[in-house]
């Protein structure tokens, strides 16, 4: 077949084109023809199809995502906002931090190892293209029923992919989440977060400026992997009877990515680069159209110069390929030689594929023939925008009316003890060591806190000790009960986790995982969740710096629970003053901060013991959340707190158990009067933490809480005398008139046994 050139397209206006197979709707195809004043060439069609996919164009979410900008708090810390590869915030001392979370859900279900691996690769390239050195990664994960055989395939593959790629890349994995719920059975969630640091002067943006500047493609060669990945995989619902989609999943090479990191940072620091862009979803189509539309407005590309792994690839395939570990840089002609020398040093292949011009067009030629001639903005930014219909689902009333009030609760001390042992071993609450021990948390030598601590903490400045803390959270059951409040609760938990380690919460990223936007029920959940999150960020003065939307997480008509994963980043002046989660010395006093109410809807107890989901999620007072964070940060800064741990999934019982297991030292606790022991232990009321205070600091600490009118109840004291060495004991008094005693080693055994038994 002869090449479908621009001239040929003009001469054959009625030629049939496979726009449907490429994921475009008829009206979208018609608007391409309107933009061009003719039918697109096959190469142009390929570019529009990937760039106008849901994954790249945010066509269903755009109208709602605007809220993050419209409601953005005035915050001087924002250096680069939403819209760039990743947002950048000022953390002081001339340092800037960029962080972002992205989804790689669909590829990870089809091919778990490579899907998860390339998820890390993609987010890391977003961070380096801002000019930052990546310093840590985190992985919020969601899986189906842990006893379903397919969960084993998916989980072990995903964990191996994260381990295999991330460890080889040399980035510490410092946290994340692993949650099981049958709603994710056919749609596991693999979100990947990366944090990068740089000096202010090193910030770089994705734009092609400077007439005559060279456009250089460097990194791995372009192959046939991942062709149509975003349009075919990420933007369509899985169909049980559909064809296998494995060829659309990309294959990663972490070694090449490591070279790409070092090579990119070297060319950036040497001042050799005017603009830079990573190649992820939509590959060369995305990089060239975005660079061109953000710069002088025009670019010419010689596509036949692209280095190939497979010489039989057609130009359309080259434009759509999502081969990993590639970057695109805009370089002044006089600096091209120096740029190439750095690439050679790192054994990275590079080639000039294009030139910046002011034609206002993105033109592509293939062996002398013109195959693309489009306005670049029309590809990169002016895609379709949908106002999808949305409406509160008819079933919401019934779901919210079906509260947990009638579920059987433990009513005796013996039942409380049984519940405690069962709860620490549920798949969601059990220790995640079996997974996290497969990740390198030490590399780079700056990891101050990692899983299972409340947030991961990284030292940024080795001299001053300035550092950052990051946590990601989302109880999707809360979001299923009330998406507005659920998103706010996810934010509040993440905010609290950061504050619990002593860091001041500063900025927010998010990964919004939902079902099909074509379903008005799902679209309503999405609209509510975004509104909730945007409102919370405004009230708490923590701007959203960027994020990602993942739609179509559903199999047939069944969508996942709405899962707005929220990542909060905080800053700490000196990581030496971090607050760990484990208590340390005998005599330290244990306090519960915050109010405990009978709030068990959507709780881990209702889920794990009764497989129940209904009612209204816990109430949230953001003003109080802010006060609690101030107390936690001041307690760290002024040396009042020996330990702190947030209360969330599994309530106070789980928080105390985790602190005891982490410490290894026993404690004597009591249920305060006026509380039902069961409610006190397993309610998931928001805005609470357990803190540990040295006796000498008690007066100062309680006065601080009183001055802020914040509830602080003394519930225990660290006491290693209750047990013997190697057999420490948690004692719990005032449990329906009785005293319970639990050995920490038995808690440990129950907590550590679950995951190896399921997946080991």
């Amino acid at each position: 077949m002869s090449m479908d050139t621009v001239g040929h397209a003009t001469e054959t206006p009625t030629a049939e084109q496979p726009y449907r197979e490429l994921g475009l709707k008829l009206d979208e195809y018609d608007s391409i023809k309107n933009i061009l004043g003719r039918r697109p060439t096959s190469s142009e069609l390929a570019m529009y199809s990937v760039m106008w996919s849901e994954h790249c164009s945010y066509k269903s979410s755009k109208v709602h995502l605007r809220q993050f900008g419209e409601k953005a708090p005035k915050n001087d810390a924002m250096l680069v906002g939403i819209g760039e590869n990743a947002g950048v915030v000022d953390i002081g001392d001339g340092w800037a931090v960029t962080f972002k979370v992205e989804s790689h859900n669909h590829p990870s279900y089809v091919e778990p190892y490579q899907g998860a691996a390339t998820g890390i690769g993609g987010i890391v390239r977003d961070i380096i293209s801002m000019g930052a050195r990546p310093v840590a990664v985190m992985d919020p994960l969601r899986f189906g029923d842990p006893t379903n055989p397919d969960t084993r395939r998916v989980l072990t593959g995903i964990v191996a992919g994260i381990s295999g790629y991330g460890n080889c890349l040399g980035l510490p994995n410092i946290g994340g989440e692993i949650v099981f719920d049958s709603s994710y059975q056919g749609n596991p969630l693999v979100n990947a977060l990366c944090i990068g640091t740089m000096k202010h002067a090193d910030i770089h943006l994705a734009k092609a400026t400077g007439l005559g500047n060279a456009v250089i493609l460097y990194g791995a060669r372009t192959g046939g992997d991942g062709i149509g990945g975003v349009s075919v995989l990420a933007s369509e619902t899985f169909d049980a009877d559909g064809p296998a989609k494995r060829p659309s999943v990309q294959v990663g090479d972490p070694f090449m990515e490591k070279l790409l990191i070092e090579c990119t940072l070297e060319v950036l620091h040497a001042g050799l680069v005017e603009g830079i862009q990573d190649l992820g979803g939509a590959g060369i189509s995305c990089a060239t159209s975005e660079l061109a539309s953000n710069g002088e407005g025009g670019m010419h590309v010689w596509l036949d110069r692209v280095l190939l792994r497979d010489h039989t690839l057609s130009p359309e395939e080259i434009l759509m390929s999502e081969s990993q570990e590639r970057m695109c840089a805009v370089v002044e002609p006089a600096k091209v030689e120096a740029f190439m020398a750095v690439c050679k040093k790192w054994d990275v292949e590079a080639v000039v594929i294009g030139e910046v011009n002011d034609s206002g067009r993105l033109t592509v030629e293939w062996h002398g023939e013109q195959i693309v001639d489009v306005p670049p903005r029309s590809v990169a930014h002016d895609g379709p925008v949908y106002e999808r219909p949305y409406a509160r689902p008819t079933w919401m009333d019934a779901r919210q009316a079906n509260g947990p009030e009638n579920l059987a609760r433990p009513t005796t001390a013996a039942q409380i003890q049984q519940t405690l042992m069962a709860m620490v071993g549920t798949p969601n609450l059990a220790a995640k060591t079996w997974v996290t021990s497969q990740y390198d948390r030490y590399v780079m030598g700056n990891t101050v806190l990692a899983q299972p601590e409340d947030s991961g903490m990284i030292r940024v400045d080795e001299v001053t000790g300035r550092g950052v803390a990051v946590s990601t959270d989302c109880n999707a059951r809360f979001a299923a009960l009330d998406p507005y409040l659920g998103a706010q609760l996810a934010f509040a938990e993440s905010y609290r986790n950061v504050a619990a380690t002593g860091a001041v919460p500063l900025a927010v990223t998010n990964c919004l995982n939902f079902g099909s936007p074509e379903d008005p029920d799902v679209m309503w959940q999405f609209e509510r969740a975004i509104t909730g999150l945007a409102d919370a960020c405004l009230e708490m003065n923590t701007p959203v710096t960027g994020g990602n939307v993942s739609f179509y997480n559903q199999t047939g008509d069944v969508a996942i629970h709405p899962t707005p994963v929220v990542g909060v980043l905080g800053v700490i002046d000196d990581v030496d003053r971090r607050t760990p989660m484990a208590w340390d010395e005998d005599g330290e006093l244990i306090y519960v901060l915050g109010d405990t109410r009978d709030e068990l809807a959507g709780s881990e107890w209702a889920h794990a013991i009764h497989n129940h989901l209904g009612g209204l999620p816990p109430a949230l007072d953001l003003g109080k959340e802010k006060t609690l964070a101030e107390i936690l940060v001041a307690g760290s800064r002024d040396g009042m707190l020996s330990a702190a741990h947030d209360v969330s999934d599994g309530g106070i019982a789980q928080t105390i158990a985790e602190m005891a297991m982490r410490s290894g030292k026993g404690a004597r606790l009591w249920i305060p009067d006026n509380f039902d022991p069961f409610v006190f232990l397993w309610s998931e009321s928001a805005t609470r933490a357990v803190v540990v205070v040295a006796r000498s600091e008690e007066m100062r600490f309680t006065e601080m809480c009183n001055a802020r009118s914040f509830t602080a109840i003394r519930v225990g004291v660290v006491d290693s005398e209750l047990g013997s060495i190697g057999d420490q004991v948690l004692q719990l008094d005032n449990v329906y008139g009785e005293t319970l005693s639990v050995s920490i080693s038995s808690l440990h055994a129950a907590s550590e046994a679950t995951l190896p038994a399921l997946f080991g």
Partner: protein
């Protein structure tokens, strides 16, 4: 003048900055060496750091062994220059035949990262002289291919000559024969160890500061052997 300790960066080296930091904290001067530069720049000792040189493709350390800098290192090591190989560095030393045996896939087939207890078995090598024999230390371990293997004759020889420098305690994390975590050559200047002492040099970021002993040892031995004058 502080002793100059070279840290080699291969493509895919990951813990090179960590090794340099450990050298500095111990009181040495860290000197960066580049795999393609066949020049040791007059360093007094060398660390081959952890990581995945050349992606660990083909076999861990098998490609790095042919790097231009390695030819110089092999000659210098045979001439008595102290060389420490950590994790991937240990694998490279075995591939270079500076140490016997090989490192194979962990017996449980997973990468493992944990705080590992070790017992020091030999304190006469250039890299372990600051420890006591029998001393128990904790340093991070992180590897996918850390199972030390050699034939029985070599294992017996290593044991007989006291060339096992450290052994895993409480849990053998990777199926290493005879719980071997690290060995030395007969002269005691070349040491390979699978766990990562460079990650245990600061209270803030490591489980202990036990790892500093390895770096302090080489500084002491350089001075004692007159290779460096202070």
């Amino acid at each position: 003048m502080s002793p100059r300790i070279g840290v080699v960066t291969f493509p895919g080296s990951l813990d090179d900055r960590d090794a340099a930091r450990a050298v500095t904290i111990a009181g040495g001067e860290a000197v960066s060496l580049w795999h393609a530069d066949a020049n040791l720049h007059a360093v007094d000792a060398i660390v081959l750091p952890g990581g995945f040189s050349y992606g660990d493709y083909l076999r861990c350390g098998a490609i790095a062994r042919f790097a231009p800098v390695m030819e110089k290192i092999v000659d210098a090591a045979n001439g008595g220059l102290p060389v420490l190989g950590i994790c991937n560095g240990f694998q490279i030393l075995c591939e270079s035949h500076l140490l016997p045996g090989a490192l194979t896939r962990n017996d449980h087939l997973h990468f493992i990262c944990r705080d590992q207890k070790l017992r020091i078995e030999n304190n006469s090598s250039a890299w372990t002289n600051s420890f006591e024999v029998g001393q128990e230390i904790v340093v991070p371990l992180k590897n996918g291919e850390g199972g030390y293997v050699a034939d029985e004759r070599i294992l017996d020889e290593l044991e007989g000559e006291g060339r096992v420098i450290a052994r895993y305690l409480e849990l053998n994390p990777n199926g290493s024969r005879r719980d071997i975590a690290g060995i030395t050559n007969a002269a005691g200047n070349v040491v390979g160890i699978m766990p990562h002492p460079e990650h245990a040099v600061e209270e803030l970021t490591g489980p202990t500061t036990d790892g500093l002993g390895f770096f302090a040892s080489v500084l002491t031995s350089l001075v004692t052997n007159g290779r460096v004058t202070v």
